[in-house]
């Protein structure tokens, strides 16, 4: 490395330091605190200097690296290895991952907190897989996916609390309702693409949330719906003291009562739901309708010239994507036993879209990796409280810098003429 390069990178790093100082100075440096009467400013210059120093050092290291013309290899190597594995190996990997997911609840280090995080990650994986149909395959940028999540959750909650039907009846109904809303949204936006579609779907997500807040008679408004029935293990409830003449899960299997039973059951429930979503998507991608979705993403005019009906194709994508969102919503409702419109804000849509895009559009494995990475990192920094969203943003930036096309951005053809030789 030449002397000129070093001077250049030092200059560049110092410039980064100035920007960092301008940002961190007011944001971190001047902390407001209320003491007695009035608001006072407590300066925190030490912290500012540490942060600015970190920025300068980081920038300098990046410069050194790029000057040496070698990439940050670990991350890229890992993902490019993942994307170049053969079909055979991919199968082995997938089976290993599923086996790990199955034994996860019984591993020695797994506690309640780990289970909760795992359930959350799986919920996002399922939502990501559902949205992948709409965004990844059909290429319709949907920023209001949370609306279908909300429709699923509310229809499950309302049906279950009103009619007292079991989870297994309400789940498909909630999915059907969500799919219906998917079509409802699909019709007006048929002619839109790209940015315009994104704006309208974003609006749709907000409309659903605002309706949920204001339709007090049905949705109980901002107070939400409480007492949503918990799922039962094939009719056996997870209760400490079952009603007279009724068996509960732990008495039936002669186990010590533990709240973990329900958590583990919920974990397996979302695992199965997510795997169904994945299996369905992998299958339908290889069917004519799946190929038509991808063709529509590539070129809508060419599709029309070949006699592919764009209306039906788009509506099925919206409906099926929404249906899986609805399933995930019902799971969310039964897990929380309480839902309110607050759970379905735009940030949820944004996280799901981020997972799909950063995972690599259309890649099922990419969604898994992105969910674990984004949600996992955010959880790891939970102690930082309000600053943990910085970790979320940081994780996104990392992916964007090192893998601008998404973690796994390769696409395998849905059908091969010459077999999987290469």
């Amino acid at each position: 490395m030449e002397k000129k390069d070093i001077i250049q990178s030092v200059k560049d790093s110092l410039f980064t330091g100035i920007i960092a100082l301008a940002l961190f100075g007011p944001i971190v440096g001047l902390r407001t605190a209320s003491k007695g009467e009035g608001l006072f400013i407590t300066p925190q210059w030490g912290l500012v200097f540490i942060l600015v120093g970190l920025c300068i050092l980081g920038r300098f290291l990046i410069n050194l690296n790029s000057a040496r013309k070698t990439e940050f290899t670990f991350f890229s190597k890992f993902t490019s290895k993942l994307s170049s594995v053969t079909e055979e190996k991919a199968k082995h990997l997938a089976i290993t991952a599923i086996l790990f997911a199955v034994v996860f609840p019984f591993l020695p280090f797994t506690d309640r907190y780990f289970m909760d995080v795992a359930i959350m990650i799986l919920t996002y994986i399922m939502l990501g897989w559902g949205l992948n149909i709409v965004v990844g395959l059909a290429g319709l940028l949907d920023l209001g996916y949370v609306a279908f999540y909300a429709v699923g959750a509310y229809s499950y909650a309302l049906i279950a609390t009103t009619f007292g039907w079991s989870f297994w009846i309400c789940l498909p109904l909630a999915g059907i309702f969500a799919a219906f809303f998917g079509i409802l949204l699909g019709f007006p936006v048929l002619r839109l693409r790209g940015d315009y579609l994104a704006i309208v779907t974003l609006g749709f997500g907000e409309i659903i949330r605002i309706v949920l807040i204001n339709w007090y008679e049905v949705t109980n408004g901002p107070d939400g719906i409480t007492g949503i029935p918990r799922p039962s293990f094939f009719g056996l409830p997870f209760k400490r003291s079952p009603d007279e003449g009724e068996a509960s899960f732990h008495t039936f299997f002669n186990l010590e009562y533990s709240t973990m039973h329900r958590i583990i059951f919920l974990y397996y429930l979302i695992l199965v739901l997510a795997l169904i979503t994945n299996y369905f998507t992998l299958k339908i991608r290889k069917l004519p309708v799946g190929r038509a979705w991808e063709a529509l993403r590539e070129d809508e005019i060419a599709c029309k010239s070949l006699g592919v009906n764009p209306t039906n194709t788009k509506l099925t994508a919206f409906a099926i994507g929404a249906m899986f969102g609805g399933f995930a919503g019902s799971f969310f409702a039964t897990r929380q036993a309480f839902i309110s419109p607050e759970s379905f804000t735009f940030i949820e849509s944004a996280i799901i879209v981020a997972i799909v895009v950063l995972g690599g559009m259309g890649s099922q494995t990419g969604v898994v990796l992105a969910s674990i990475f984004l949600i996992g990192i955010t959880e790891m920094f939970r102690d930082l409280e309000q600053f943990r969203m910085i970790a979320f943003g940081g994780a996104m930036v990392l992916i964007m810098v090192f893998k601008p096309k998404g973690i796994l951005a390769n696409r395998k053809p849905t059908i091969l003429m010459h077999g999987d030789k290469k």
Binding site: I284, L287, P288, R291, A302, S305, L306, G307, I415
Partner: protein
Amino acid sequence: MSNLLSVENLTMQFGGLTAIDNLSFDAKNNEITSIIGPNGAGKTTVFNCLTGFYKPTNGQMFLHKDEGKISLRKYTDFKIAHVAKVARTFQNIRLFPAMSVLENLLVAQHNELMVASGYSLFGLLNLKSYRDKEQLAVDKARYWLDIIGLTNRADDNAGDLPYGDQRKLEIVRAMCIEPKLLCLDEPAAGLNPKESAELNKLLKFIKTEKKTGILLIEHDMSVVMGISDHVVVLNYGKKIFEGTADQTKTSKEVIEAYLGVDE
């Protein structure tokens, strides 16, 4: 030879601009009909009217099929290809670049495969009836790929093919819908002489073996004069000449339109 397509008094106006003015011509079965003319003469607009992308201001277009004549005006959008069986290619290639060559040809057979897959239900159940139909579709794709010599690249992305191969692929993709009429919008644009000659061969093959009528817009006169059975010349949206290739070469009107009038 019987008529395949009759265009009667076709007029297309965009606001005050008349792109096509009272145009009438016929195209016959098993013939290659070329539409030529200087830039802006309205050639592509004729195609867009025929293939349902524009709704003509006035006039009629009839396609003569075995079961009788149908009016193309009644069909819009994707139904032109699906029901009326009129296929087209585009001036700027419109393949599905991120999909494989084989997938491109299978999307062209979407409607038959959709029925065969029971609108996805049989396909999800992986029934044998669907798998057989899919195999037939792959065989058809292989047939066409053999003809244009791209069989060994079937699993590569269409966007990775050389330009000339992409042109040919777009044509055979259109042929996969088994059209009665194939409309080609400047298929020779950007091709070198060798590739143009291959294109001529392919078009002649489609005409004679597949009994498909071809409507061709082209600037490359070696293609037009080499294979056209019938030439229609447009200028400013009006038909100024119609005849065989040889007649066109010597027509005073055509030379004037291309080279200008001697004052």
